[in-house]
């Protein structure tokens, strides 16, 4: 048997039972790797229940900084009896099976291509600790101790992290450190040199931070001055508002009065949540809500109101696997079409597509400026993978000179000084965005009734066809303004001949970039475009035009980005070729490469066969 020997480049999977306290232990492991300067990317694969079901924590360690899921597992920490066999079987040949040897492995665990590492976790734990709750928690720490030995980490980096974590409650650190040592010592004694995987300090992390996207979005909202939030709990978006609340409680308390400079309302449902955000935005506070698929569906009617009555509001959609309740704890990029055309009638919404926690921060912050500037809903379309998993990303920063762009809001003075009649929906600047007033601004000027019914330039109700039509056309002008304001795509041009292109967005980024690197190593140069917003800019269309074929990489069944692109611009038949993964787990570089290869080999059902295709097939 050839066992895997790797430094700083392998995948460890922890198989646990949820509700057993494993999450914090596993997280500790990832954090230690991160602190050693080695790029690491953990994925929490958890069930839609609270306690007692299988949960996995998959950690990819990659000196090269490939932070997408890799696929395949090199080392499994199998401490869940329910999935023992499954975990055993999914190990790649040469891999390592780590289990709680307090109980023997069943007979039929007889692979001869893997290394078995047994440690009697329960036994060791029970010998040392008597409190049942502590036992449950510390059993997990024991295996972390063992890993510290097996992966050559040494015990100090882990002890350091624990000490840091319990800085304020050093008493609690003690048993943890003890557990750590037990595991470390046991492994050292019984499994000397059992493992060919190791972690060596590196500087590949650089100044990057490790955080989840929902926290990033929450911080973005905080920094961008959001004050009103309406929300309703739903996985995986819950932590956006919960994080916002946490940060706001820390950074947004009025020092003099000790009162809150923000108002968060846990609403009765998503209809109310978005209604609250719309009410707040209408009344001049930066307002938002966060939700996931089913919530987006429920916000459908209200979003149309905000579009048509032109109210700034920010919606953060942390996508999960649909349709319907679907797989609530799995990721997907399948709300794209829903969000783009959300609501009946001719509505269309501006979408921002962050790809990591940093962009969650940045785009959420920008979303409030855009919403105010465009007076329309801005939807930040994140997903479970970005939102709930920790990711390495560039550190947050804020330009202290940045001021909030509150858009076209008339003050009392503005109203006084106006020489002509103010009209709420007059396109004064010919950019489709009009001047609004806030309630209470002026005793006699600027009041009007906002409505979802048709209205003329002076906000009066009208059923006159011409007035309605003018308004609707102006909204298209505004749409063009939006096009000029939203974040531009990011290109990576490796082949000036522009034969093969690929486009992707959001959480597919990590895997896509890794795939292109690998393809390049095999002499296939793929030019890439990361789309960051809807409406699409001319550059997006040009990129597609200029390439002979373009792979559209996305995490949904129906190739929604491809549909959106084809519907919105003129795409030659056969040019866009779908690359999809929609099984709820993050897309991997392997999936992308396989589908690209298959498409190229089978002529990718395109009418425009790519002549030079043979050459690039590796």
């Amino acid at each position: 048997m050839k066992r895997i020997e790797q430094t700083n480049d392998f995948v460890v999977r922890f198989a646990n039972v949820n509700g057993s306290g494993s999450a914090s232990a596993n997280n500790l492991f990832a954090k230690v790797v991160y602190r050693l300067g080695v790029p690491v990317s953990p994925k929490n694969i958890f069930p839609s229940n609270i306690q007692g079901l299988p949960t996995w924590y998959e950690v990819r360690i990659s000196e090269n900084g490939y932070l997408g899921r890799r696929g395949g597992v090199d080392f499994v920490v199998a401490v869940n009896g329910q999935t023992l066999k499954q975990d055993y079987e999914m190990l790649v040949p040469g891999g390592y099976f780590f289990y709680d040897s307090t109980r023997d492995l069943p007979e039929d665990f007889n692979r001869d291509d893997i290394t078995i590492i047994g440690i009697p976790l329960t036994e060791l734990c029970n010998e040392e600790f008597s409190n049942p709750r502590l036992r449950q928690l510390l059993k997990n720490i024991i295996y972390i101790g063992a890993l510290a030995y097996l992966f050559d980490i040494g015990i100090e980096p882990v002890t350091d992290s624990i000490t840091k974590q319990f800085a304020k409650k050093p008493k609690l650190a003690e048993p943890n450190v003890k557990a750590l040592e037990i595991g470390f010592e046991y492994a050292k004694e019984h499994h000397t040199d059992a493992c060919g995987l190791s972690i060596r300090p590196s500087d590949a992390v650089g100044d990057r931070i490790m955080i989840d996207g929902n926290s990033g979005a929450a911080l973005g909202a905080l920094y961008s001055g959001a004050t009103v939030a309406g929300w309703y709990p739903i996985t995986p978006s819950t932590s956006v508002v919960e994080a916002f609340e946490k940060y706001a409680a820390k950074y947004r308390i009025d020092p003099k009065t000790n009162k809150k400079n923000y108002a968060i309302i846990q609403a009765e449902d998503e209809l109310a949540a978005i209604g609250i955000a719309i009410g707040g935005g209408w009344n001049g506070a930066r307002s938002f809500t966060a939700t996931s698929g089913p919530g987006v569906s429920l916000m459908n009617e209200f979003l149309g109101l905000a579009y048509f009555a032109e109210i700034p509001v920010v919606l953060i959609d942390v996508q999960r696997s649909g349709p319907s309740t679907g797989m609530p704890t799995r990721t997907q990029q399948s709300d794209l079409l829903s969000c783009a055309y959300l609501s009946h009638g001719d509505t269309r919404n501006v979408l921002l597509l962050p790809s990591d926690p940093y962009e969650c921060f940045e785009m959420t912050a920008d979303a409030f400026d855009l919403a105010d500037r465009l007076q329309t809903p801005i939807i930040v379309v994140s997903d479970l993978d970005i939102g709930m998993n920790d990711h390495l990303c560039q550190p947050f920063s804020w330009d202290d000179n940045r001021s909030y762009d509150r858009g076209k809001v008339m003050t009392a003075e503005d109203l006084e000084n106006l020489s002509t009649n103010w009209g709420r929906y007059l396109d004064v600047d010919k950019d489709g965005v009009c001047y609004r007033t806030l309630p209470g601004t002026h005793p006699t000027k600027g009041a009007y009734v906002t409505r979802g019914t048709s209205h003329n330039e002076f906000a009066a109700y009208t059923e006159e066809s011409a007035a309605y039509e003018r308004g609707m056309r102006r909204l298209l002008t505004k749409w063009e303004t939006a096009r000029s304001l939203v974040p531009e795509p990011v290109f990576n041009i490796r082949d000036e001949a522009k034969k093969i292109g690929a486009l992707y967005f959001g959480s597919s980024t990590y895997a896509a970039e890794e795939a292109f690197d690998q393809l390049a190593e095999n002499d296939m140069q793929v030019n890439s475009m990361r789309i960051r917003a809807f409406p699409f800019q001319q550059e997006v269309f040009d990129f597609i035009d200029e390439h002979q074929i373009v792979f559209a990489i996305e995490q949904n069944r129906d190739s929604q980005m491809k549909i959106l692109l084809s519907g919105e611009c003129q795409v030659a038949p056969g040019k866009l070729i779908p690359v999809t993964n929609f099984n709820g787990l993050p897309i991997t570089a392997r999936i992308i490469i396989n589908q690209i290869h298959t498409a190229l080999l089978t002529g990718h059902n395109s009418q425009f066969a790519l002549n030079s295709m043979e050459k690039v097939n590796t």
Binding site: I211, D254, I265, E268, A272, G275, G279, A285, S397, T441
Partner: protein, 350 residues
């Protein structure tokens, strides 16, 4: 109705404390049916704000969808309004109120808008005790969609289709009391003498003030068997008591001085004097309030007046502990923790 109002006004039209005439509180021309109860309520709203000398632009009018929800366009033309979507006014009002605690929020809804599609939002805006006046123009039917029964249609009364209504009628006042509203009242669109003081008291109340106004739909629900019809209400109305509303600044004299009077101090310091019939008590116990309403129902009558009053309720901002400065006036300085804090935050993650 849409015909023009006479332009002529008496030159010495009465002015209020702010120097405004009643006209300053009027709105656009109504497009409701001539004789619609909703227009009378609109006029009572105008009168109330005028008499209380509230600056019109400090009022925010919000509504859902329906004939009733159109009325904000017909009063308080100097106030901002938001005619939102069907049944969802309460959430919009909540957001608006969170953004600026200093304005007065007046929500107008219909019985369809509140008791059917809006039931959830109604219940929860009451529960969070949003500081607003919530008026339901209750005609027991869906006026704007041509008269279908609403959930407040009386069981047994004759509906549009001729058959008697067969479902239980929802009593919004009773629900409001149960859900924790601190101010619950019922008026009748045809009785301004009672309605105006109710609305004024509602304006003065801190927290959610719920006012259900029986408002006959002349077009679709004026069958004599309906308890929302003019004739029925006139015949069956039973008041808990007439009362005066006395704002701090100016005492309003009225001609209702018979019966006993119990003054109740409202949150903003103003006083509502309830004049009760001898056999009734001032109701500030939920249990008694509900009993009284159930009792009246058993006696086939509608209880009007202020049905329940808890002057001590905490509104949403107080519950949340929000700053008193309107949130929509805060700027970068108050809201943005700045880059230094952010760098510290980054460090904490390392």
């Amino acid at each position: 109705m849409s015909y023009k109002k006479p332009g002529f006004r008496h030159p010495e039209a009465q002015k209020n404390r702010l120097g405004y005439t009643r006209k300053a509180y009027e709105g656009g021309i109504s497009t409701l049916c001539a004789g619609c109860g909703h227009d009378s309520i609109g006029s009572a709203i105008i009168q109330s704000f005028f008499e209380m000398s509230i600056e019109p632009h400090r009022v925010v009018k919000l509504s859902g969808i329906g004939c009733s929800s159109k009325t904000p366009a017909y009063f308080l033309g100097k106030s901002h309004g938001f005619n939102s979507v069907h049944g969802r006014m309460p959430s919009v009002a909540t957001g608006a109120n969170m953004a600026n605690s200093e304005l007065i929020y007046l929500g107008v809804s219909g019985d369809g808008d509140t008791a059917s599609i809006g039931m959830g939002q109604f219940a929860h805006v009451v529960r969070r005790n949003l500081n607003m006046i919530y008026i339901v123009m209750n005609n027991g039917c869906y006026g704007l969609t041509k008269g279908q029964d609403s959930a407040t249609a009386d069981k047994g009364s004759k509906s549009k289709k001729g058959a008697p209504v067969s479902l239980e009628s929802i009593d919004l006042c009773e629900l409001a009391v149960q859900l924790g509203a601190g101010f619950v009242a019922r008026g009748f669109s045809g009785d301004k003498k009672q309605l105006i003081p109710i609305i004024k008291a509602a304006i003065a109340h801190k927290g959610l003030a719920f006012v259900d106004v029986v408002s006959p739909c002349v077009t679709f629900n004026n069958a004599p068997t309906s308890t929302k019809s003019y004739s029925y209400v006139r015949d069956h109305m039973e008041a808990t008591g007439t009362f005066d509303f006395i704002p701090l600044m100016q005492e309003i004299t009225t001609d209702y001085d018979h019966g006993t009077t119990v003054p109740v101090t409202l949150h903003d310091g103003s006083i509502v004097k309830l004049k009760k019939r001898e056999d009734k008590e001032v109701i500030s116990s939920r249990k008694l309030a509900i009993s009284a309403m159930e009792q009246a129902k058993e006696e086939d009558s509608i209880l009007t007046g202020i049905l329940y009053l808890d002057p001590e309720s905490e509104d949403t901002h107080e519950i949340l502990g929000t700053t008193q400065t309107p949130l929509n006036t805060l700027g970068e300085r108050e809201l943005c923790p700045g880059n230094k804090v952010l760098q510290e935050f980054n460090r904490s993650l390392r």
